[in-house]
């Protein structure tokens, strides 16, 4: 029974991936990590310059899943009510007037928050409750958001004029931050072929919302050994410069390290990776594979790191190496 569930998950995952790749050329890693976040129950922040297919990816994914989809284009004049909804006065058949809550676009299974850093912090924070609590409160009334609720936000790292960088509290609510890079030459050729002809690729719905939720349940059942959990915790702690065993590079460049949410995200993401590979338990390699998307937006560099233009990915790779070396040393059977 268990094996069948896992086989079904692996099959669905593969089908979903294939459907998305009917439209999206390349970006294998991005597609994979978006799906991991979907099944781990987290949200994704996609960062990349315009024209790389971020919005198309999200729309395609929504098309592959039998789920409702909303898209909000964030602009500086966008208000929280434009996202969550508002109470409006309606008149019933008897002529009596009363307030009725008009739901905003946030009430959808898959929400695309396009260029999220263009809205004001007030509007951005309207998403906070939805992302963490899957609910929205208007005029003292809390409304449940549909489940599964999956937010994919995009932001452009170059055009910073008139933008409002997401506050740390909001960044922490994204399970992954993915960097969408330029496609390779061959991929670019294929993009041209696909998009400049009359051929219009269509995707099929391969999973329903119920199946998605069941997959999320299965993910949480995946067991994890104590030493793997220890590795995940050590990795998160190693991003804290105040930790006494922190690597030197952490002490040098990081001001604030990752939160406990990062440890949760590491484990959940690693569980999805284990299941996707048909394994029944999480390994240290799964944690390592998912470390960068989980941690890159959760560490805050200090002045020295900012001044030297330290890249978070490079920094975290070195932290990961240091933690792994220390971990291997602890498991060394000869030299102890």
């Amino acid at each position: 029974m268990t094996e069948e569930r896992i086989e079904a998950f692996v099959r669905s995952y593969g089908e979903l991936e294939r459907e998305v790749h009917k439209v999206i050329v390349g970006h294998d890693e991005i597609v994979d990590q978006v799906l991991v976040a979907l099944f781990a129950g987290g949200h994704v922040l996609l960062e990349g310059v315009p024209g790389l297919g971020k919005t198309l990816l999200v729309r395609t994914l929504a098309g592959c899943l039998d789920l409702s989809f909303s898209r909000i284009q964030f602009t500086p004049d966008l208000m929280p009510a434009d996202i969550i909804g508002t109470n409006i006065i309606v008149e019933d058949a008897d002529g009596r007037r009363h307030f009725q809550f008009e739901r905003g676009p946030v009430f959808a299974h898959i929400l695309l928050a396009d260029e999220v850093n263009r809205a004001t912090p007030k509007t951005q924070s309207a998403l906070l409750e939805g992302m963490q609590e899957t609910s929205a409160t208007v005029a003292g009334v809390t409304h449940r958001l549909p489940s599964p609720f999956f937010v994919l936000a995009t932001q452009n790292p170059i055009e910073m004029e008139g933008t409002y960088p997401l506050p740390e509290a909001q960044l922490d609510r994204f399970l992954f931050k993915l960097r969408v890079r330029y496609p390779a030459l061959e991929q670019l050729n294929e993009i041209i072929d696909r998009t400049t002809t009359s051929h219009d690729p269509s995707v099929q719905r391969v999973m329903t919302g119920v199946e998605t939720l069941a997959a999320r349940e299965l993910v949480r059942e995946v067991p994890m050994a104590a030493h793997v959990r220890q590795f995940a915790s050590t990795l998160v702690m190693a991003t804290h410069s105040q930790w006494e065993e922190a690597p030197d590079i952490t002490r040098r460049y990081i001001r604030y390290g990752a939160s406990p949410r990062a440890a949760q995200a590491l484990v959940l993401g690693a569980k999805v990776l284990a299941l996707r590979a048909g394994r029944f338990a999480v390994s240290v390699d799964d944690i390592k594979s998912i470390a960068l998307p989980v941690l890159r937006h959760r560490v805050i560099l200090n002045f020295e790191g900012e001044a030297e233009g330290i890249d978070a990915d490079r920094l975290l790779s070195e932290v990961l190496e240091a933690v792994e070396a220390s971990f291997r040393e602890g498991k060394e059977v000869f030299l102890r």
Binding site: T2, M160, E161, E221, A225, V228, S283, A307, V333, F334
Partner: protein, 490 residues
Amino acid sequence: MAHGAALGLTISRLTRLIRQRRAVFYGVRGLAWGLCLAVVPVALRAMVGPWALPLAGGLAAGGALVGALYGMLLGVPPVDALGVADRAFSLKDRLATAQDLLGRPDRGPLADAAIKDAEEHARHIALERAVPWRWPREAKLLPAPVLVLAVLPYLPPVPLPDVSMPSFTPATEEEKKPEAAGPQQAVERPTPKKTEKVERVEMQDRDYQTRPNPEGREHAKGDLAAAFKDTNVATKRPDFSSFLKQGDDRIRLLERVDSLPDLQRDFTQSQYKVMFRKSRSLLSGIDPRQLTPEKLRQLLEEMNRMGRRPGTGPGGEGDWGQEMMEGAEALDRGQMDKAMDAMERALSKMRAQEERERGGKGLQGGKDRGRGRDGERGGSGRPGEDEPDFGEGQGSLPGKGTNPGWRGDPSARLGQNPFDIGVEGQMRKGKRESYDTNMLGKGAQNPSRLPSMSVVTQYRKMMEEALAKEAIPLDYRSQVRDYFQALEER
């Protein structure tokens, strides 16, 4: 098969393999260190004797044995043992995780599936390849001690260092025997046996009597008679009685240090040693009460006379006239104990002067000697005391030149705030730590200064906080950083 049986079997096999490899690993390490230690007895075989080689072999074998035992007895946690196999066969922590899950009573169906999967994998791996042979770094160094051990027996034994403490006790009868054995033995000094006490050269109580040399041989090396071989006292045998009465010619000759050949400043030139010998021979085996006051008086007078050599100022350590006077007075009063006490103090002063001269003269340069003479001319008794150790034009800032107060004049301070001080003084070379606040207009004439280091630090902190709070738009951040970087470069 029951849950975990295959895993248990895998663990036991892995543990055995790991212990074997560890035993070899630590055994080789122990052997390397044992061989290094084994070099010592072989090198010192002159001291160790016939046990040198067996001891060396024992050390090497013992090191290997202790290392091997240590490696075998080290604990092997099951999860770590399985982790070795996981890494060796890229099993993605399957075995270690399964072992961990086995210990959980509330494991779910996925955990059971994980254990089953791990056991399936464990059955199909060749564990011998899981635990590779590892060699310690010391293995590369093994040939070195082996080579040394192979060569050392063919080399002459290492000479033993002289590590015995000087003997201050009077010579015993046994020690005196070789001296009285005859002139032949005195000339042909045998190599000291291992059991003999070897005294430090400078503290040896040498007998500098002129040795009879009937066969007309050259004087033996180190023979103190060589110091007198060209003098009219070379062939004289010193007579203690005549010394007490008239003073020994040798002692008088010893006073004329410039006319004596410098035999590497042999200790026999020491006044202290001479007087020590005399006093010892006077007291050796004799009850102080039986010592005649006349002999003691003569000895004290001799010491007093020697204490007035040039270079020993009154009141200094080199002057033991005070003790001599006290000794003479005590003798007049018939107090032998006090006289002996005074003589011992005089001897101590002699010794202190001797030590000072021996310790310093070999290293002193011309400057020191010159200073010493200057000091004597100045009559201060402390040579070179009033001469500053700074050359022309040297001194600490801001004073300079040959100001007798070598720290220079105190600087005028601006304002009364003792905590944030600007010092108005001469400009010096190097990086400026302040900047002018009024460069134009009337204020340009005012020497107005701000301590730039503290100001820049303060603004730098503010800038850092502003950057951290994202108060500065991203486009301007690099400009702000460049600005502060430019300030630092100034």
